[in-house]
């Protein structure tokens, strides 16, 4: 009763890219399920940033990028079903889908889950205080402005200094919203120079090493209190904008037997993008929040190619070997390797992230034998790429060591 060769869940950059590649490689029946009314995923509401430079040879903004993706997808003969939300992924390539027509069970030879990532809510951050309106994430702010012309506040405090935080700041400023301060828990801004100079240029105070100690107001926010050491300071404002601290939208895995990795909160995958279930693959920001739209697009393409190759063979049966790591590394993707010689790897490199700034030697060992090392000063917000050596897939123990030296 298979309905397709491949079902892709999620029509953001990664899902569309995977679909385009699968079609290009001659896979006939590729179904793309997207729960929103349009393709584009998280790029749709971001009205300012340069998406699409590498993918389409020119710059597209926000919704236009989504439309460009949709055009490419239609042209490539993808079976696009928007307004279709997947409620469960199950063994044997079965997915449960709901749409305005009701419930449906679909089955395919392979499933690709590319559902992206979102910013952590106020609850998930365990923030203290009252629960007034006006404590929202960048995603909600940008969607409010871009799709509905609604401005949820005028003078918010911005929490966070990641890349997206500056995107949030820019969004505020272009819509007549004047943030009263930008605050950060870490001792220094997370985004790189020169972005971190931007708030100062705009005359917006940047407070680092502070924690939110209270949120006051009903029904709307009227004050956010921050604490640094023993001292507190009250910031009069009418909203709190939560930026960054992305987490994968991985409910489909969390609620299945496949589960998620504690390190990434996304599914564990191998060098092909394959999860613990050999028929289910994943890619894009669900793997590890968060990368740019361009990165998600390229990753989608690579996983799409690995799936096209996988379809030509019988499903993989080799058991996965976990990739392990020392603190202060926070995550490694892929976190599984399968002993397989199929050449079409989706991940030519390991992607690593550090939990905090650290100096020292990062080493990769295979069965205790060192195959790669690098000394450096490592920063938490940077992606670290380590080539994935072909022989790694034959090892029993794959481990990243870190020897800290000051």
């Amino acid at each position: 009763m298979t309905t397709a060769d491949v079902i892709i869940i999620g029509g953001g950059p990664s899902g569309v890219a995977a679909g385009l590649t699968l079609r290009k490689q001659g896979v006939p029946r590729v179904v793309l399920l997207e729960r929103e009314a349009e393709l584009g995923g998280a790029t749709r509401h971001c009205a300012h940033s340069p998406f699409g430079m590498r993918e389409f040879g020119r710059v597209y903004f926000g919704a236009a990028y989504g439309r460009r993706l949709a055009r490419a997808a239609h042209k490539a003969g993808l079976d696009i079903r928007t307004g279709h939300a997947v409620t469960a992924v199950q063994p044997h390539g079965v997915v449960q889908v709901v749409s305005a027509q009701g419930l449906q069970t679909l089955q395919a030879r392979r499933i690709l889950v590319m559902t992206g990532a979102r910013e952590r809510s106020r609850a998930a951050r365990l923030l203290p205080g009252d629960r007034p309106q006006g404590v929202i994430t960048t995603g909600t702010l940008q969607a409010s402005l871009a799709f509905h012309g609604l401005r949820p506040f005028r003078r918010p405090v911005i929490l966070g200094t990641e890349l997206v935080s500056f995107s949030a700041l820019l969004t505020c400023l272009t819509h007549g919203i004047r943030p009263v301060a930008m605050i950060e828990t870490a001792p220094a801004p997370l985004a790189r120079w020169p972005l971190r100079l931007f708030p100062r240029l705009m005359g917006i105070p940047l407070l680092c090493g502070v924690e939110v100690s209270d949120i006051l107001g009903t029904p709307n926010v009227n004050e956010v209190t921050v604490r640094k050491g023993g001292a507190t300071r009250a910031l009069a404002c009418d909203g709190l904008l939560l930026t960054g601290r992305f987490t994968p939208e991985s409910a489909l895995f969390l609620q299945s037997d496949i589960g998620v990795e504690p390190a990434t909160s996304g599914p564990a995958i191998d060098q092909y993008g394959r999860t613990h279930d050999p028929l289910i693959f994943a890619g894009g920001n669900i793997l590890r929040a968060i990368e740019t739209g361009g990165w998600a697009f390229r990753e989608g393409r690579a996983v799409g190619a690995a799936v096209a190759d996988d379809l030509r063979q019988s499903p993989e049966t080799a058991p996965p070997v976990p990739v392990t790591f020392d603190a202060p590394l926070r995550l490694v993707v892929p976190s599984l390797l399968r002993r397989s010689t199929r050449p079409q790897r989706a991940f030519p490199s390991f992607q690593l992230r550090f939990d905090r700034a650290a100096r020292g030697v990062l080493r990769l060992t295979l069965d205790g034998e060192e195959v790669w090392r690098k000394r450096g000063a490592w920063r938490p917000e940077r992606r670290v790429l380590v080539p994935l050596p072909p022989q790694a897939t034959q090892a029993e123990h794959v481990h990243f060591h870190f020897d800290e030296r000051s």
Partner: protein, 474 residues
């Protein structure tokens, strides 16, 4: 804002009873009196019903197994629960028959289980049985191996704590009751009948029933009734875990209670989540139920100690509620026949369960005032929409339009129906309680903007700048 839906107000502007406070107790009282044929007005100072204690609780329909023996609380919890069980189907209210395990984590606690069992029997709750740790873990495999023993209480159930009072008040309205929101009782005088001054005008009523929860003592004072009790708010904080946790917590996990509190509960919800909480923190402030990061972390820690798998579960939501406790443990229920006033005060931690019992009790007290009521000829059929995962939801039916909130699978049709209902939400909190939109794991990241657009102009307290992004730019 007065109720936007026209209803039959009494011809002479006179009500048989004025009920102060639309918490779960006030809503239940309104229903009971309307069913008895009284002309009812329900006055609520918040912009929606359930603005006080009733908006944030553990949602357990208690049996009373651990209530003080021979107390009014025990009697009314039992009666309230019985009535809920008999009416929930016809009102469209869910009931999740989870049962509870009182868990002993030490030899000392194990010893107390026997006493709890005895008390349950004495309280008329027969369906309790002692379990070995192995038996308990067969029922809830996620329980930590540190468990010593448990007591199963079959009759502890979980309900939707917001749809139930909504159903009560909707039925009262269908029988002609008037609901005035954003209307605060300021003062009342009695000269054979009551003249009630409110923030939106003056009313006259034959009797008053104080159901003001956290303000019960103050409303008694407004009515010039004797000072009989003092509210001492007791805060309870909660964390709500992702729906993925639900299958690991098929029963309510209760601790061995102490003298002051039922303790930290790990509880499945009717919406398919898992709660950890509440704390019990005395505070003077009646207005703020604020969260503290350290406390929330401690709750998560506690959950993970008792059910280790919960450590891996993401947090969906956090909230806190204030219990209308007093200087005594008992309910503070008083009747003043000379002034035709009834006070249902200090309904501290079992009001959701006891509300229907309290309502019947209030009617009984009212009957002694000697003004007979004539029941209406028929009882209108009302049903509230199902929001729980135990019954069919709208998204599972065809033609629902589209899903707006994906985490909670709330359809456009459900949202439109809530906004067009006899008592539409008065504020964003009330909207969430009626639809669940935005209450799921993403807390509005995906649907927040869409929901803001769909509800634009519907509430009396819009966000500070919800009037569009064009125009007066600073």
């Amino acid at each position: 804002m007065s109720n936007p839906v026209p209803h039959e107000s009494s011809p002479d502007g006179f009500y048989d009873v004025a009920i102060i406070g639309a918490g779960v107790v006030g809503c239940a009282v309104a229903r009971r009196f309307a069913l008895a044929g009284a002309r009812v007005v329900l006055i609520e100072k918040g912009t929606d019903i359930l603005s006080g204690a009733s908006k944030a609780n553990s949602a357990i329909l208690h049996t009373g197994f651990d209530a003080p023996p021979d107390s009014l609380e025990l009697e009314l919890v039992r009666k309230g629960r019985e009535e809920y069980l008999s009416i929930h189907r016809e009102l469209g209210l869910s009931l999740v028959r989870t049962g509870a395990l009182v868990c002993a984590w030490s030899a000392g606690e194990h010893e107390s289980l026997h006493g709890i069992e005895q008390q349950a029997h004495a309280n008329g709750v027969q369906a309790v049985r002692p379990l070995s740790a192995a038996q308990a873990r067969a029922l809830v495999p996620a329980l930590s191996s540190r468990l010593v023993a448990a007591l199963e209480v079959e009759g502890e159930h979980v309900i939707d704590p917001w749809s139930a009072p909504l159903a009560y008040v909707t039925q009262a309205m269908a029988l002609g009751a008037t609901v005035l929101r954003a209307t605060e009782l300021l003062h009342g005088t009695f000269d054979g009948t009551w003249t009630l001054q409110t923030s939106t005008g003056t009313l006259r009523a034959g009797a008053v029933i104080n159901c003001a929860g956290l303000y019960g003592d103050r409303v008694d004072r407004c009515l010039e009734l004797p000072e009989r009790f003092e509210i001492r708010p007791r805060k309870g904080q909660f964390v709500v875990l992702d729906k993925a946790a639900f299958r690991h917590v098929p029963r309510i996990i209760l601790p061995v209670p102490t003298a002051i509190t039922k303790g930290i509960v790990i509880c499945p919800t009717a919406f398919g989540n898992v709660l950890i909480g509440p704390t019990a923190e005395e505070q003077p402030d009646r207005t703020r139920a604020s969260l503290e990061t350290d406390t929330l972390e401690a709750l998560l820690q506690r959950g993970a100690e008792l059910l280790p798998i919960l450590r891996t579960m993401p947090v969906s939501a956090t909230y806190a509620g204030l219990r209308p406790a007093t200087e005594q443990k008992a309910y503070r229920v008083y009747s003043a026949p000379a002034q035709r006033a009834i006070t249902l005060g200090g309904i501290r931690s079992t009001g959701l369960s006891a509300a229907l019992g309290l309502a019947a009790h209030a009617l009984h007290l009212y009957e002694r005032f000697g003004t007979p009521l004539t029941p209406p000829p028929g009882i209108p059929d009302i049903r509230v929409p199902n929001l729980t995962e135990t019954e069919e939801r709208d998204w599972q039916r065809a033609d629902h339009g589209e899903i707006i909130c994906h985490c909670e699978r709330v359809t456009r049709r459900e949202i439109e129906a809530a906004l067009a209902s006899p008592l539409p939400p008065g504020d964003p909190g009330g909207f969430k309680r009626r639809t669940r939109a935005g209450m799921g794991r993403c807390q509005g990241f995906y649907c927040g903007a869409r929901v803001a657009e769909m509800t634009q102009g519907c509430f009396s307290n819009p966000p500070p700048a919800a009037t569009g992004s064009q125009g007066d730019t600073p």
